[in-house]
C-alpha cells in the first residue's frame, strides 16, 4: 500500500449533506415553532410582559400570584373534572362502538363510518352543532327528553350542568380515534382465545371481562393517556360553546391562559399557568404509564 492510499483510507468518510437536508425539513420548523416557543414561554413565566416593551424580570412572582388567584384553582378543578368525565366516557363508548363493529352486528359497515366521522370534523364545528343541540329552549336533546317526560335541562346555561354539556360534545368528538384503535386491537386478538372461552362455557360478559379486556390493556392504556392529555388541553369546545361561563363553570386551564394572555395581555402570567399545566401533564402521563400500563 502506498503512502497516498494509506492517507485516503485514514480519512473520514465524506459527509452526506443530502441526509441533513431531508432531516432539516422537519428539524428546522420543529426547532423554530415548537422548541423555541417552549423555551421562550418558560422564560416568560418569570417576567411581566404585555407585548409592547421589554419583558421585566420578576422572578417567581407570577407563580406566587397564581396561588392567590381563585380563578386558577377553578380552572384546574374544572380541567380535572373534564378529564374525569371525558376519559372514561371515551374509553367506554369507544370500546362499545368497536365491539359493535367487531361483532358485525346490523349495519356494522355504516356504523364504522358514522362512529369515526366526528373525529374528522373541526372542533369549532362540533362546538357550534352541540350548542344548538343542547340549547335549553330549542335544542333537539331537550326536545327528545321532553317526549319521555324529562323537563328541559339547562345544559349550557347553568353552572351545575354546563361542564357536563361541554363534556358530552367532547366525548362525541374524541370517540372516533379511540374507536379505531380499539377496533384494530380487537381484530388482532387471536381467535383461539375466543374458541377456548367458548369451550369453557364462558358467557358474553365473562368473555369480555376475562378474555378481551386483559388483552386490550396496552391499547386501553394508550387511549387513556392520549385522552387524558387531550382533556387537560381542552379549549375549542369551551371557547365556542360557553366562553368559559356561566360563572366560570366551564373555564379550563387553557381557556384561562387564553384570557390572561390574549385578551388581557398578561403574557408572563399566562406563561406561568402554561408551565404549571405542562408540569401537571408530565406528572399525570408518568403516573398513568406507571400504574396502568406496567402493572
Amino acid at each position: 500500500m502506498t503512502a497516498l492510499d494509506l492517507s485516503s483510507a485514514e480519512r473520514k468518510p465524506p459527509i452526506d449533506w443530502a441526509g441533513y437536508v431531508f432531516v432539516a425539513f422537519f428539524t428546522i420548523p420543529f426547532l423554530a415553532f415548537n422548541v423555541a416557543p417552549l423555551i421562550f414561554g418558560a422564560g416568560l413565566a418569570f417576567t411581566k410582559w404585555g407585548i409592547f416593551g421589554k419583558p421585566q424580570w420578576i422572578g417567581l412572582q407570577n407563580f406566587s400570584d397564581m396561588l392567590h388567584d381563585e380563578w386558577v384553582g377553578i380552572a384546574f378543578k374544572n380541567t380535572a373534572l373534564y378529564a374525569v368525565i371525558i376519559v372514561p366516557g371515551v374509553l367506554v363508548f369507544g370500546l362499545a362502538c368497536a365491539l359493535y363493529v367487531h361483532q358485525r352486528w346490523p349495519l356494522a359497515g355504516l356504523a364504522r363510518t358514522l362512529f369515526f366521522s366526528p373525529n374528522v370534523v373541526s372542533g369549532t364545528v362540533i362546538g357550534l352543532v352541540w350548542t344548538w343541540l343542547l340549547d335549553t329552549q330549542y335544542g333537539l336533546v331537550n326536545h327528545y327528553l321532553g317526549l319521555i317526560g324529562i323537563s328541559a335541562i339547562p345544559w349550557l346555561t347553568s353552572a351545575q350542568w354546563a361542564l357536563f354539556g361541554v363534556s358530552i360534545a367532547s366525548v362525541w368528538w374524541d370517540l372516533g380515534l379511540a374507536f379505531v384503535l380499539f377496533l384494530a386491537a380487537l381484530q388482532d386478538l387471536p381467535k383461539e382465545l375466543y374458541e377456548a372461552a367458548d369451550v369453557d362455557g364462558a358467557s358474553r360478559w365473562q368473555r369480555l371481562r376475562l378474555v378481551i379486556l386483559p388483552q386490550l390493556r396496552p391499547v386501553i392504556s394508550m387511549v387513556a393517556t392520549l385522552q387524558m392529555i387531550s382533556s387537560l388541553r381542552i379549549f375549542t369546545q369551551v371557547y365556542v360553546m360557553t366562553d368559559g361561563g356561566p360563572a366560570g363553570a366551564t373555564t379550563s386551564v387553557v381557556f384561562y391562559m387564553y384570557q390572561a394572555g390574549i385578551q388581557r395581555q398578561f403574557f408572563g402570567y399566562a406563561s406561568a399557568v402554561a408551565m404549571s399545566l405542562f408540569a401537571l401533564i408530565l406528572v399525570m402521563t408518568f403516573v398513568m404509564r406507571r400504574f396502568v400500563r406496567e402493572r
Partner: protein, 439 residues
Amino acid sequence: MSKTRKMSRRQFAKLAGKSALVATAAATFPAPFVKGAEPITLTHWSWLSASDAEVWGKMIDAFNAANTDIQLKLELVPDDQYDTKLLAAAAAGQAPDFGWGTAGQRAQWAKDGVIIPLDDLATKVGLDLSDFSAQPMQKARYPKYDNKLFMIPMDLMSLQPEVNLDHVKEAGLDPEKFPTDGDGLLEWAKAMTKRDGDKVTRSGIMMTGSGVQPTVTWGIVARQMGFLRASDDLKTACVNPDAGKAAMQWILDLFDKLKVSTRDVTNRYKAFGTGQGSIFWTGPWTLNGYVQQKLNFRTYLFPKIGQELHTYFEMGGMELYVQSDTSRYEASMKAVKWLSDNGFLWTTQGRGASPRLSTLARPDYKTSGHDWSVRGAFVDGMAFATEGEIPVLAGPDFTIYAGDNFLAKTLETVWAGQKSIDTAMSEIQAKWQSDLDAG
C-alpha cells in the same frame, strides 16, 4: 476603435453591494407624505362587526372616492383579538396608521406610547375641536397623562330599551306610555313575560345568565341607586357599596322572585330578534340589523329605577398608532378629519349620536337615516348617559359593558348563586381600590 472596459470581481462586488443597499433603503424608508406625490395608502383597522360595519364600509369607500392623495385600506380585526394584534404589530413597528378605539380604555397605551397625542395634529390639519360637544372632548383625554387628547370622537352611544311592539300589543299595553320608573318597568315586564309552568319561555326583560347583559345592567342600576365605581378624584373605589348590593339583588329578583327573565338565553341579540325577549336595553349598533330584518320595535328612554337617572355611556373614535415614519401622522389625521367632518351618515345610519355640534344642528339630522322612533332615544338619551370608563391603567377591570373582565366574572358568581352579594361586593371593592392605588 471600441474600447471594452472590464470590471474586476472586487468592483462588481462593490457595485452589487451598493445596489442592494439602495434597494433595501428604498423599501425600508418609503417616501414621506408629500402633497402632489403618489397617493399614500393608510392602513385602518376596525373591529366593527355588527350591522354597523356595513355603514362604516360605506364611509371608507366614500373617503377613497373623494380623496386622490390619500387612500384607506380597511382591515377588519375581531374585537377580542384587536388589542393583542395591535400591540404585537406596534412592537414590530408594523402598527396600522389608525383605528377604532373606545374612550377611556387606553390609559396603558397612552402611557406606553402606543397611541399618540392628537392636539397638535388636529390643529395642524384644521380639525375644529371647538365644534365637538364638551363631554366627548373630556372623555377623549386622559387626566393622568397631561390631559392630552388621544382620540377624535366619532360617535356617542348609550344603552336604551328597545321594545318589541308586537309583544306590547299582545299584552294590551299602550306603546305611547312606556314606563319612566322601576315599578312601571317591572309591571310591563310581567305583562309581556311568557312562562311554561314555572319556567320563563319569553323574557319580559331580556337577560342572560352570564356575560355582558347582567353586568351592564348592574352597572346602570347601581349608579341609579347611588353607587359610584370610583370617586371623582379617582382615589376611592366603590362609593356607597350598599347601593351596589341593592342593584345585585334587583337583578337576582328578575330571575328568581319576579321571574320576568331567564338565565337560559345565550345570544341576546339573536334572542331579541327572534322574539324571545320583550324589553332589551342595548346600543345603537343593533339598529341597522333589526331594521333590516323588519322587527317591529321601538326605542324608549331608560326608566329611572333608582333615585337618579343614568345609563351606560360609550364613545367610539379614531386613535392614531405609533409609527416609525412619523410623516404618516399628518396624512392619518387628514383622513380622520375627513371622516369626522363627513360623519353624518355614520351617526344617522351607523350608530350613536354625533359628537359634532354642527351635525346635531343640521335640520335634517332627525329626519335622515333610521326612523326617529328607533333612533331618537339614543340621541336624546345622551343627556343622562354617564356610566363610561374609568380612565386608569386597570380601566378594563372597571368596565361595566364587559362579559369576561374581573367585574363580570365576579358578578357571574352572584347570578349563579355561588357567592353571596356581600362577598362579591367586598372582593370588588378590594380589587378596584388596589387598581386605583396603582394609578
